[in-house]
């Protein structure tokens, strides 16, 4: 029953967050100075043309009516029609999302692959070479902007040593460099947390008990401590995954990948308002939903959360 209530509460918060974000987006686009229809139509447009765009944008009716319409459509994931391509916004998003999703997935995978082993080694062998390496890595990871790392990776592995293709998409080879650029900085965050969490765990009393029982250090570190230390790491990794979807916008531009980020960016360049609105809300939904799943998983791993 408590678990059910917990899920219900979290679900309510998920819906509320999405509601707030979409409301903010709705009003922001309407309080900006100037009529979007005028911007879209250009200076030479006739009144009839501008009116037609207003109808298309739905800005020909009072704001309250627009808001109700917007919310009604939102429930059905209907974000309207793109002004440029005349296709439904959701269709465009569906075409582009898989690439961005796989990029983020590969990015988080590579990030975990670096961060968790290094974080654990740093914590187990504190002030060792591993630990110093981990510290240097986490500082670099946080200082090097991902898009610059992307450019440097292109420079090194596509121009200087042509191992990876400079352009194109479709194969995993095309996603590898962008995923590294995306995962590198995120790994720094996960690494720091893994180390801190593991250090924390190793100083607890049950570790002393385990040692008193005569367990080997390996057993203590990797069977007892690691299991508990990873609980907070899971949460942060999940949130990092959400951030990667945002970061993908820039990385896709660096590597010329036709993902959601590029779609969104071109919508901005071309002032395709329905596509901008839809894109933001879509990413917000995905992001909030990821956080929701992470919370669920966390409560599954850590029963304390469910009971309290």
């Amino acid at each position: 029953m408590k678990l059910f209530l917990f899920i219900l509460k979290r679900f309510f918060r998920l819906v509320l967050t999405i509601l707030i974000i979409s409301t903010i987006i709705f009003f922001v686009i309407r309080v900006i100075p100037g009529d979007p229809a005028l911007v879209v139509a250009g200076i030479d447009a006739s009144n009839a043309e501008i009116q037609a765009i207003r109808v298309k944008l739905g800005t020909d009716v009072p704001v309250a009516v627009q808001y109700v319409r917007w919310m009604k459509k939102l429930v059905r994931f209907d974000f309207g029609t793109s002004l440029i391509s005349n296709q439904p916004v959701m269709t465009l998003i569906k075409q582009r999302f898989p690439l961005t999703f796989s990029l983020a997935l590969l990015g988080i995978f590579l990030g975990i692959l670096i961060a968790i082993p290094l974080g654990v080694l740093s914590a187990v062998h504190r002030w060792s070479l591993w630990d110093y390496f981990g510290m240097v890595y986490s500082q670099l990871g946080m200082a090097i902007p991902s898009f610059w790392l992307g450019i440097i990776l292109l420079l090194l592995f596509s121009v200087k040593f042509p191992i990876f293709p400079l352009f194109g998409s479709g194969s995993i080879k095309n996603l590898f460099l962008p995923a590294i650029a995306l995962g590198f900085a995120r790994a720094a965050v996960i690494l720091r947390l893994t180390r801190a969490s593991m250090v924390d765990e190793l100083s607890k009393e049950y570790i002393i008990t385990a040692r008193a029982k005569g367990l080997t250090e390996k057993m203590i570190h990797y069977k007892h401590a690691l299991k508990n230390a990873l609980i907070p790491v899971v949460t942060v990794t999940g949130i990092q995954f959400g951030y990667m979807l945002g970061g993908a916008i820039i990385i896709e531009q660096v590597f010329s990948l036709p993902g959601l980020g590029r779609l969104f960016l071109f919508a901005i360049y071309q002032r395709d308002f329905p596509l901008i609105q839809g894109g933001v809300v879509f990413i917000a939904v995905i992001f909030s939903f990821t956080n929701f799943l992470v919370d669920m998983f966390y409560s599954f791993l850590n029963p304390k959360i469910r009971i309290s």
Partner: protein, 273 residues
């Protein structure tokens, strides 16, 4: 050398670097060997050498001079955005912390919704609505980072509200504003400074990212992000165009992060393990 000495060394180097950045930004016209926007197609793509320390770009502009002038843009973004974030955060945080429980929950729900969203996406969205340019970017970054400060300020305000010395001051009839300035703000300063340092670094990265996408600083103003945008099309002819502005960016962010890290350890002994 133990960990403390190494850390101290880094901290000193970082502070020195930040001071150097400040001086560079202020004295850019004196230090830069060339006009950062002067074009000379005849010397485009000159490799780094004696005349052009870091080479020239696709318009024959001197990269070293452009990076020096870019320092100014970066620091202005850091200062203005962080100030906006701190200012907004203070107001919202105090309002939430000292206001009624309803105000508190509504404000914090709003702040949490903002916080639970990828920063870069939020920045791009705001800029896409309000138009491109440095001013819009700075306001956007300021607004986006205000929830972080609002949380800190609110938490502190809630604690301090119940402290006996504040209570005493209240019963003596000290006006609210005066209480805020005398008792609450000084107590907050340490945490706000630490968070401010980190925000400073993040603001510079976000401005560079947006300029890279063409949404931030507009040409021909020298900005590190914009320089990297130009570099992208000439990776083969002029790789130096991509290397040096990024290095400037990374070193700046690195220094601010180090300063933030050391300060937060010094102010919060629990982190040090």
């Amino acid at each position: 050398m133990n960990k403390g000495t190494i850390q101290n060394l880094f901290f000193k180097a970082a502070v020195l670097f930040v001071i150097l950045l400040g001086v560079t930004a202020l004295a850019a016209p004196l230090i830069a060997p060339y006009n950062p926007t002067a074009q000379d197609i005849s010397i485009r793509f000159t490799a780094p050498g004696l005349h052009h320390l870091l080479g020239t770009d696709n318009f024959g502009r001197d990269l070293f001079s452009r990076i020096i002038f870019g320092t100014k843009a970066a620091l202005i973004v850091g200062i203005v955005s962080t100030s906006i974030a701190v200012f907004l955060g203070m107001i919202i945080g105090l309002w939430a912390g000292l206001g009624s429980p309803l105000t508190d929950s509504v404000l914090m729900l709003l702040m949490d919704s903002l916080l639970s969203f990828p920063t870069i996406l939020l920045a791009i969205t705001v800029v896409s609505f309000f138009g491109y340019g440095l001013v819009q970017v700075m306001i956007a970054i300021g607004v986006i980072f205000s929830p972080v400060f609002a949380r800190i300020v609110r938490a502190e305000a809630l604690i301090i509200k119940t402290e006996s010395f504040v209570e005493a001051s209240r019963s003596l009839g000290t006006p609210v504003l005066k209480r805020i300035f005398i008792h609450i703000i000084p107590n907050l300063l340490a945490k706000v400074i630490v968070q401010g340092t980190i925000t400073f670094a993040l603001a510079i990265v976000i401005e560079a990212s947006l300029s890279y996408l063409g949404l931030g600083t507009q040409p021909p103003t020298p900005s590190w992000g914009l320089m990297l945008k130009d570099a992208k099309d000439y990776l083969i002819q002029a790789p130096w165009m991509a290397v040096y502005p990024g290095l400037a960016l990374a070193f700046t962010v690195f220094s601010f992060n180090i300063i933030g890290d050391v300060l937060s350890e010094k102010l919060n002994p629990r982190v040090l393990k």
